[in-house]
């Protein structure tokens, strides 16, 4: 039997170990989530012991001082700023990524991309002041001082948009660059122009990565705190007018947690309920967008 070939399965312990540790790395995020839900839930219970779920989810006024706990006032403001931010960031971010990946020279791309990425690292409180001292006066100049409040969701939203542009453009550019050259060649071979190739062939082929960028961006916009805290105002207000002040969920959380309120007041407990709401809100948004991405995702080769 000597020198015969052994084709039987061997246990490769190294491989198994690696796979196990990779699995742990992957599953770690579940622990994080459990931790978040547990920590927030524990305190939120105290809140919901005093405020009914019905009032919380149906009310449109949020004034803890006078026992009004309607999350819609804050939720609405969060949705407004996020929506405005998306209006700014998605088209501009996507355009930049198309420009960088399809039009710009290699050299231009190599310089522009890192420059844009620096935008992502400026502390957001700086963006907050940028919104308040630059964007708001600009809006007031355009639409009139009577129309635009000094604190408003529009200016906060636009600046959040600027903040997440690099995120959208950088990640999308990676996705676009990863599309095989052969596809571009095929399109050109059929007599497509540069634009048609970029928008109708490359872009759809990169949709999975672009959607991932969008998801991260939207999530970031929802969770953005300091900009809204400085520029969107600190009073809850249920309004659809982007030029009015309105406090967002994150703005409220950061205000309460840095304030002089007693830590055992109901107002203080409310930040955990809001945090939990925010968590489930982004969760459902993600589940939906994941479905969409799945539908569009294509496999190459």
């Amino acid at each position: 039997m000597q020198n015969s070939i052994d084709l039987r399965k061997k246990r490769r312990w190294g491989e198994t170990l690696i796979q196990a540790s990779l699995f742990i790395a992957g599953a770690f995020s579940i622990l994080t989530t459990v931790g978040i839900v547990y920590e927030l839930g524990k305190e939120a219970m105290n809140f919901f012991a005093q405020v009914s779920l019905w009032e919380y989810f149906t009310g449109a006024d949020w004034n803890p001082q006078i026992d009004q706990f309607g999350i819609w006032a804050l939720l609405n403001a969060t949705l407004m700023t996020t929506f405005i931010a998306m209006l700014v960031a998605l088209p501009i971010g996507l355009s930049i990524s198309l420009y960088l990946s399809e039009y710009a020279s290699h050299r231009a791309r190599r310089t522009l991309k890192p420059i844009l990425e620096v935008l992502a690292g400026i502390p957001t409180v700086v963006y907050g002041y940028f919104a308040l001292t630059f964007m708001t006066p600009l809006l007031r100049g355009i639409f009139g001082r009577d129309v635009v409040d000094i604190y408003n969701t529009a200016s906060a939203g636009i600046v959040i948009g600027i903040l997440i542009i690099p995120m959208v453009s950088s990640m999308s550019e990676d996705a676009l660059s990863a599309v095989p050259r052969a596809l571009r060649a095929a399109a050109y071979g059929l007599g497509a122009t540069k634009l048609e190739t970029a928008v109708k062939v490359v872009l759809p082929a990169a949709i999975s990565g672009i959607m991932a960028a969008f998801i991260v961006a939207i999530s970031r916009a929802i969770g953005e705190t300091m900009i809204v805290a400085v520029a969107a105002g600190a009073g809850s207000n249920f309004t659809f007018n982007p030029f009015e002040a309105a406090e967002t969920m994150t703005g409220h959380i950061v205000r309460i947690s840095g304030g002089d309120l007693s830590y055992d007041s109901i107002d203080y407990n409310s930040i955990f309920a809001i945090g939990l709401t925010l968590f489930f809100m982004t969760l459902s948004l993600n589940v939906i967008s994941q479905r969409i991405v799945r539908k569009y995702r294509e496999v190459y080769e």
Binding site: A25, I92, S170, S208, G275, T282
Partner: protein, 413 residues
């Protein structure tokens, strides 16, 4: 010349297509321009406060300190010491003397101390860079009128002593030393935790995980975590790292520590909290990068009898590294700029000693910046702008390293 006939059944739409192509390409360019302009506007906004004219007034006129007609700068060290003793608090004088007796000090050392603590030049008014460049005459006139004793000079708020001094309540003496060191420590821990963890998770999800419910759950979960507001990570970090793992994060497991002061509010806790925060970002980016590696490469490797891990290590990862680095740059940039979660985890607002280990108390640049921007005095806004520039320089250098790595690996392929 022969005219080429239009093809049968096809409209002659090319000029129109080129027009729309041109239109959109200009639009893309403009968008890029807008992004750059936004960046420049922001940077100018910051630079505007970080440089400019300062009218400096002395608290005490040096001339009044002259003894027997000898001006201050020519006084004997003993006289200087006497002036110092007369004008500063006794405790300070004593502390200075304990540190290094005045008899042993050089004349310059004592003179500098007199200027700093007795003459005490203070900013009476400051102007932005824009005003300084454009309205110089107006500033001169204003100074002459309002601050007749003041000296006008152009100042860069970001300078050597700003970088090397610890914090201070006095904006002229304050620096970012502790904050810079704190930020670097924290972000290093963050990177050490999030990079291997994130890339590992991405490899698992892309290369190993089948389409099972559990793996789908992990995926959804990661996308979701990317959207959790940072302050919630702060709450989590407080519960897990500061409280739950206190023996580890306070350094107590390494040996005895002073139980009355050591607690979990350390660099390690902060770094791990930010690590959790950026982990989803790292994972999602790394996944995209790994997914973009062509399958033929993997097959080629398997075809040569490589194991799965060998394939990943030798072929998939090297090809995915540029994309992974992009994600990591973005993630680390975010970690460097975070404020809210660190406040919850316990970054100190006032701290004057350098962090020396992962178990030190700390502060970070954004915390300093946030604190300074909320102060009423103008000079604090100037040093806040200077601190922002310091932060951006750190970020840029990180970027340079990453871009260098990215380009190096990109060229290899």
């Amino acid at each position: 010349m022969t005219q080429i006939k239009e093809k049968e059944g096809f409209a002659d739409n090319l000029p129109q297509r080129h027009r729309s192509g041109g239109f959109w390409s200009r639009l893309f360019q403009i968008s890029t321009g807008v992004g750059i302009v936004a960046l420049i506007a922001l940077l100018l906004n910051i630079t505007n406060s970080a440089f400019g004219y300062v009218a400096t007034e002395n608290k005490i006129d040096p001339e009044t300190l002259a003894i027997n007609g000898i001006p201050l700068e020519q006084l004997h060290p003993i006289d200087l010491t006497y002036i110092l003793e007369q004008n500063v608090s006794a405790g300070f004088f004593r502390a200075q003397n304990n540190e290094k007796p005045f008899e042993e000090r050089t004349r310059e050392e004592i003179y500098d101390l007199v200027i700093e603590r007795v003459v005490e030049p203070e900013a009476a008014a400051t102007w932005s860079l824009f005003d300084s460049l454009v309205h110089k005459d107006k500033i001169n006139a204003e100074v002459a009128e309002k601050y007749p004793n003041a000296e006008l000079s152009f100042q860069s708020w970001i300078n050597g002593s700003f970088l090397l001094s610890p914090q201070s309540a006095d904006p002229e003496r304050a620096g970012v030393r502790t904050a810079v060191l704190g930020s670097l420590w924290v972000v290093t821990i963050t990177l050490l935790f999030a990079f291997p963890m994130g890339v590992g998770a991405a490899i698992y999800l892309e290369e190993y995980a089948g389409d099972k419910w559990f793996n789908r759950l992990i995926q959804t979960n990661i996308n979701n975590l990317a959207g959790v507001p940072s302050i919630i990570y702060g709450i989590l970090g407080l519960a897990i790292f500061v409280r739950g793992m206190e023996p580890i994060t306070s350094g107590a497991f390494l040996g005895p520590v002073d139980p009355t002061t050591a607690n979990g509010r350390t660099i390690l806790s902060a770094g791990l909290t930010l690590g959790l925060l950026i982990l989803p970002l790292v994972i999602i980016n790394a996944q995209e990068a790994i997914r973009a590696v062509p399958g033929s490469l993997r097959q080629a490797s398997f075809g040569l009898g490589a194991t799965k891990w060998q394939t990943i290590w030798h072929h998939v990862l090297p090809n995915a590294i540029p994309g992974i680095l992009t994600g990591t740059i973005l993630a680390v940039s975010r970690a460097l700029g975070e404020t809210a979660p660190l406040v919850v985890v316990g970054a100190s607002t006032f701290i004057t000693f350098d962090p020396t280990s992962p178990f030190s108390k700390f502060t970070t640049l954004p915390i300093q910046i946030y604190q300074w921007t909320s102060r009423p005095q103008d000079e604090f806004r100037n040093i806040a702008a200077a601190a922002i520039i310091v932060l951006l320089i750190i970020l840029l250098s990180l970027n340079v390293v990453a871009v260098y790595l990215r380009n190096r690996y990109s060229q290899k392929i």
